[in-house]
Amino acid sequence: MEIIVALAIGILTAAGVWLLLRPRTFQVIIGLSLISYGVNLFIFSMGRLSVNKVPVVEPGATIDPSLYADPMPQALVLTAIVIGFAMTALFLVVLLAARGLTNTDHVDGKESEA
């Protein structure tokens, strides 16, 4: 399973970075979202993969941490997802405003000469 997750991270990031380097704003926004997926999975995988070990503890019992998934990367990723949404929203609006002001959806605000 590790191999598959690793490949998934690689493909998501690669697709995202590819779009990040494209000239159209819409491509960049989709690229950022894809990178977010990749990076979130990457951070999440730092806690290693664990099946059926949900980090919800029994009240009162003595706790053996090895029986649970690592909660910390999960908490980090959770906030990252929400902030990612905020970033997408802000970027989308900036994109729209730039498109309105410059009449183009090129990232530089003007069509390239090439």
């Binding site: 490949l7 493909i11 009240p59 997802i81 905020a86 183009t104």
Partner: protein, 965 residues
């Protein structure tokens, strides 16, 4: 307390002054006057403690961890300066009350003025050299504001900028120098440093330290070669010139030289640099002053020259010369401040300061003229005036130093040079007196001159009186104070001296007589030339125009910087981003290049075929999304959503239900958001123009992207196959219930253990929502996007299979059935969202998820029912939700203060309620409720603001001017 109040009163006064109404001229003047006067009185009270070498010292903790204290320290020398600053400050306030015209915004003037006084006082009573550098820069900054006070005037702006550039750059050098000094001495405490003279002078960093400190002092005191900024600073209002550019700020440089005299002086470096700069400035300043046509310019160059005199005295490495320097600081302040004020009166009364136009003013304003004549006689060093006594001491020291140094010819050159400078000063003083006050009465003056108001003259009278008093009875008046001040600087090296008018027939007297006679002769020779039209600038040194050199240097610097920027930088985003992604790759390669990096040996989890298939789909979605993003935005967006869903399922698979929930809801909201944006993007039909440039670019990007993808895969694989190192996760797991009162550890981390992070995060979310809202309020779409899209247009859509959208009334149109369903589902979804919030602490869920679900419920109504329909029935105050959310979270956090715990300490009572039973109610729940409210508010605010653009009527954005490529 005394020193602290001395420091705080001016700043407090400055704050109050800035708040007074614009026309409160009298109130302002009273305020500033009282502030200055109370400072002066405080100084008088301090005198008994500083006499005979006493030091007042107050210490406050500043940054104790760095061993830095805020030290206020006053010895005799600092006392003299503080008294001078407050006394002259008071007189200048009185003068400024009448000088400033009713149109000038006086609150700004007095506010800056008092702030400057505070900074200057802070500078002189600093007992810590870092603190000293701080106040030093503050004086530069405030003087910038004061010089540029009439900011409608280009010359004022330029002068202010030049003064700031020169003095602040010097200030930075000074700061560096003081750091080096502190490093050498091992302490930043002035008292400690002052005892370390031998250690400092013997240290190998002495020269570095000296040059840096001198750069600070010489720029501030307008010493050669940095003298050029001072004449341009004359664009300031005259009270500012009188205060800053004669009595106080420019004296800060010589203050510093005298302050560190016991530590830094006594070496050859000191003699040649300080003395050399002083002598050059003395001569050049005096020479240039002769040829000025502007009275203020004449005074400015004379100030430069007198500061050069003081610097030269300090550079002579002799205690007695230092006493003379301190004495001349006082004398110069007295006569120069009064002269500036007198020039201000002349300017005020006649409307011009041009010596060639002014003439015969004695008849019109005899009183002011008399005062100015006496003061300029003091400036020229005429006997019976204070300038004479310090100049005699100066001449005597020049002779002595010439002998003592025993350098070839120095014993002749130095006395000759200072005598020559003395002649020049007599010449320009004569020019000032004869040019302005005598001769035929000028007829073409802009205004008919009259004596100024009584109280405008009082400050000048007082200062001129001081000049006379000190000049006639030096030993009875200034002697004890000078003794106190010099003792503060020199300590045990204090020489015996006696101030007297008459020392018998000796060399200095001869030099004085020579200077007077020579000055008169020079004036007589030059008279016609000076008053002629062709006299502009000083002959011989015209080419040495500091201003032009300075501005040329700045221009070259700027253009070099912009050339460099053009060469190294790009305004285009793509190269920047390419660089941005390549640099980390390169750095990562640097790091792993020589390490043997391989997978770990942890047993792998067995591969599940379903999961594999899932990710094959996910990979296709991701790549498809990337491929389609240019020409098929909708398809690309759907594919992106697919990749998101597979990510979400991965979270489910690997025991992260909270993440899966959040990812799922965020996914929905994000897709809706981008869908709303699609409408405003330009049409792009699928014909790709492939050429060699784009092909190379794409292949290059493909290589970069492949490296990144492979690198990320390997990196994560290597990490995942290694055992987990010990982290704080274990303690989170074991303490979640015991200390956080919740069983869902992820949620407990978010709202309790790392609650402050979450607080910050929701604040960011709220800010983003408001920014989005604000940006969209002024949204102007591009011309091509204003018309309704063809799908909504009945004329083009008829005949196609698409149902025609009735934008006006979606609720009864083709969306009728879905809208009914959504209406019925709304309370159910809302209930589910509340359920998720409430159970969040113990089971997957929480404020983020709940909030997102709630916003989805609202968005669904908008989508199905249409904006108009929903807003007729539901008044959603998203901003209020955001506010309430922050408030809840803040209260939940601050509540713990009430019980004496730090911010956001959580508490979990378990009250037993009727019917419901025991209800765990941790305070973190209130926090989570805040998160919920904020997420609902922020999400709906963003989405609705965007959705509204479709129902708004739009104006086209103004055509942007395309800049040349």
């Amino acid at each position: 307390m005394l020193l602290l109040s001395l420091l705080i009163i001016p700043f407090a006064g400055s704050l109050i002054a800035s708040l007074l109404p614009t026309n409160a001229r009298n109130t302002e003047a009273w305020l500033a006057g009282i502030v200055a006067l109370s400072g002066f009185i405080l100084c008088l009270f301090a005198y008994p403690q500083v006499v005979d070498g006493g030091i007042i010292r107050q210490e406050y903790d500043w940054i104790p961890s760095l061993g830095l204290s805020f030290i206020l320290r006053m010895d005799g020398f600092a006392w003299m300066f503080a008294t001078m600053v407050t006394a002259i400050g008071f007189l200048v306030v009185l003068y400024a009350r009448y000088y400033m015209s009713p149109e000038d915004p006086v609150p700004r003037f007095f506010s800056f003025f008092l702030a400057f006084m505070g900074a200057m006082l802070g500078l002189v009573i600093s007992g810590n050299i870092i603190q000293l550098a701080l106040f030093w820069e503050l004086t530069s900054l405030v003087s910038f504001l004061l010089i540029g006070y009439w900011h409608h005037n280009a010359a004022a702006r330029r002068g202010a900028r030049m003064a700031l550039t020169v003095t602040a750059t010097g200030g930075l050098c000074l700061f560096a120098g003081l750091l080096v000094l502190g490093h050498i001495a091992g302490s930043y405490d002035l008292d400690v440093i002052l005892t370390m003279g031998d250690k400092v002078r013997g240290h190998h960093l002495y020269t570095t330290c000296l040059i840096l400190i001198l750069l600070g002092a010489l720029t501030k005191s307008a010493q050669f070669p940095f003298q050029f900024w001072l004449p341009h600073a004359m664009a300031a209002p005259t009270p500012v010139s009188a205060f800053l550019h004669s009595a106080t700020m420019v004296k800060a440089g010589v203050f510093l030289l005298a302050r560190f005299w016991p530590v830094l002086a006594g070496t050859d470096e000191w003699f040649w640099i300080v003395g050399g700069a002083g002598l050059c400035t003395l001569l050049l300043g005096a020479y240039a002053a002769i040829f000025q046509q502007d009275l203020k310019g004449l005074l400015a160059y004379s100030t430069i020259s007198h500061l050069g005199l003081i610097t030269l005295l300090l550079g002579m490495n002799s205690p007695l010369a230092t006493v003379a320097a301190i004495f001349h600081i006082l004398n110069h302040a007295a006569f120069k401040a009064s002269l500036f004020m007198a020039v201000g009166i002349i300017d005020h009364e006649t409307g011009t300061r041009d010596i060639r136009r002014l003439s015969g003013l004695y008849k019109a304003i005899p009183h002011t003229a008399t005062l100015a004549i006496v003061a300029s006689a003091a400036m020229a060093g005429v006997p019976l005036l204070n300038g004479f006594i310090s100049k005699e001491m100066f001449f005597a020291e020049a002779i002595v130093t010439g002998y003592v140094r025993a350098e070839p010819y120095l014993e002749y050159i130095l006395p000759a040079a200072v005598t020559l400078a003395g002649m020049f000063s007599v010449t320009y003083s004569l020019r000032f007196i004869l040019g302005a006050f005598f001769g035929p009465k000028a007829t073409d003056l802009p205004r008919e001159p009259h004596e100024p108001p009584r109280w405008m003259r009082v400050p000048v009278e007082l200062l001129v009186f001081v000049c006379l008093l000190v000049g006639i009875l030096p030993s009875l008046t200034v002697d004890p104070f000078l003794h106190t001040a010099a003792l503060g600087v020199l300590g045990s090296e204090m020489p015996q001296f006696k101030l007297a008018l008459w020392h018998g027939f000796n060399m200095p007297l001869l030099m004085s007589v020579l200077a007077l006679a020579g000055g008169i002769v020079i004036y007589w020779l030059l008279k016609n030339y000076l008053n002629s039209k062709q006299c502009e600038g000083s002959p011989g040194v015209r080419r040495l125009n500091g201003k032009q050199i300075f501005e040329g240097a700045l221009k070259r610097l700027t253009s070099a910087a912009s050339r460099l920027e053009g060469f190294l930088g790009s305004r285009r985003l793509q190269p920047q981003l390419t660089l941005l992604v390549c640099v980390p790759v390169f750095v990562a390669w640097l790091v792993i290049r020589n390490t043997d990096i391989r997978p770990g040996n942890m047993p792998l989890t067995p591969i599940d075929i379903t999961f594999t298939l899932m990710w094959i789909g996910g990979a296709i979605c991701a790549l498809g999304s990337a491929y389609l993003a240019k020409y098929h935005r909708l398809a690309s967006l759907i594919a992106m959503g697919g990749a998101g869903l597979v990510t979400c399922l991965t979270f489910v698979w690997f025991s992260a239900p909270d993440l899966a929930l959040t990812q799922l809801t965020v996914e929905v909201v994000t897709v809706v958001l981008i869908l709303l944006g699609l409408r405003w993007l330009p049409k792009r039909m699928g014909v790709s123009d492939v050429n060699i440039v784009s092909l190379t670019r794409r292949s290059r990007d493909f290589i970069i992207v492949t490296i990144i993808g492979v690198g990320m895969s390997l990196l994560s694989y290597f990490v995942m196959t290694r055992p987990v190192p010990t982290s704080s996760s274990d303690s989170f797991l074991t303490k979640a219930y015991a200390e956080g009162g919740g069983t869902n550890v992820v949620n407990v981390i978010l709202v309790d253990f790392r609650g402050f992070d979450t607080f910050g995060e929701i604040t960011v979310l709220g800010v983003v929502a408001l920014v989005v809202y604000a940006l969209l309020r002024r949204f102007r779409p591009a011309a091509g996007s204003i018309e309704n899209p063809s799908q909504q247009d009945s004329t083009t859509a008829s005949g196609s299979d698409w149902p025609v959208a009735d934008v006006e009334d979606k609720a009864t149109g083709y969306m009728f059935v879905p809208s009914i369903i959504m209406r019925m589902v709304f309370p159910v979804i809302a209930l589910i969202s509340v359920y998720f919030v409430m159970r969040g602490h113990n089971s997957p869920g929480g404020g983020f998820v709940g909030g997102l679900i709630m916003s989805v419920a609202i968005i669904l109504q908008y989508m199905a029912g249409g904006t108009t329909w929903v807003e007729k029935r539901l008044n959603l105050h998203s901003q209020a939700w955001i506010g309430a959310g922050l408030l809840f979270a803040g209260i939940a956090g601050a509540g713990s203060w009430w019980f004496g715990y730090p911010f956001l300490t959580s508490h979990s009572p378990h009250p037993v309620l009727p019917f419901i039973g025991e209800l765990p109610l941790p305070s973190a729940f209130v926090f989570d409720l805040g998160v919920f409210l904020l997420v609902v508010g922020a999400t709906t605010l963003i989405l609705i603001a965007l959705a509204h653009q479709s129902v708004r009527s739009h104006r086209v954005a103004p055509a942007t001017k395309t800049k040349g490529s």
